[in-house]
């Protein structure tokens, strides 16, 4: 079982620490609430534009996560590197099994489709290279 700290867990811990530290400050603010009414309302924080490729990335990472736990060792290593390149990671249990040739072929095709559909040229390059990496291992299997 892998138990490396995940980014989500780290963010969650950071949020909890922030909330605990903020509690005394919040009670302090309520003492002089009349001053708060005089301060101008801060402008709303601008919302980051949605990444148009995010649904595509999510679909690809879901497929890789589905294959990774039971893939043979060389394949799980490949899929871990793929997830890292996509900005995520897998921390679950590995139970290496037989190669699912059909599923890996389907992933290769999904990566090629994703490459064709990606808005970001860098993502297109990455997905094409990932498809090529899967094909190399399929060719050797």
């Amino acid at each position: 079982v892998r138990s490396r700290p995940t980014r989500r867990r780290a963010l969650g811990l950071a949020a909890l620490a922030g909330a605990a530290g903020a509690a005394p400050l919040l009670s302090g603010c309520s003492v002089d609430s009349s001053l708060d009414r005089l301060r101008p309302t801060p402008p709303p924080t601008p919302v980051a534009p949605a990444n148009p490729d995010q649904p595509l990335v999510d679909r690809v990472t879901t497929s890789i996560r589905r294959l990774l736990p039971t893939a043979p060792a060389a394949w799980s290593a490949l899929h871990e590197r793929q997830l890292q390149a996509l900005g995520t990671a897998y921390h679950g249990t590995l139970r290496p099994g037989a190669l699912d040739h059909a599923a890996e072929t389907a992933l290769r095709d999904q990566l090629l489709d994703g490459c064709a559909a990606a808005q970001d040229p860098e993502l297109a390059r990455l997905l094409a290279a990932m498809a090529a990496g899967v094909s190399q291992l399929l060719g050797a299997a």
């Binding site: 090629l112 064709a116 094409a128 290279a129």
Partner: protein, 138 residues
Amino acid sequence: MSGTVDALQAVLAGEHAAVYQYGVLGGRASSSGLLVRLRTAYDAHASLRDSLAERLRELGATPAKPAVAYAIGSGWHTDAALAAAAASLEERCCAAYVVQVGAVGGDDRRLLATALVEAAVRSTGFGAPAAAFPGLRL
């Protein structure tokens, strides 16, 4: 459109070189097994060359012409050396394809991505090590 034309012209120039070099490699191979693999690779690159030239004409561009000759390796005397040269050639093709994949869209991108996949498989067939991201340096 000029970005697409430039990208396809760059890949076409590489295909001219690959076809030339596979011709030299094939002419020096002694084992029939290697000769078949070199011939298959030659055919693949010649096919891609022709597809690119046709696509460029569709786009109103004049396809890049091949050079008169291309540099060849100095140690291409044994089948092992020929296979290593072919593996290296395919790896360089992978790097060229992956650069241009992001510079084009639609069917052109799919054409180059498919070429990348096929070149990556050929490279390991000639003895190159498998890579997680053929053509990319991550």
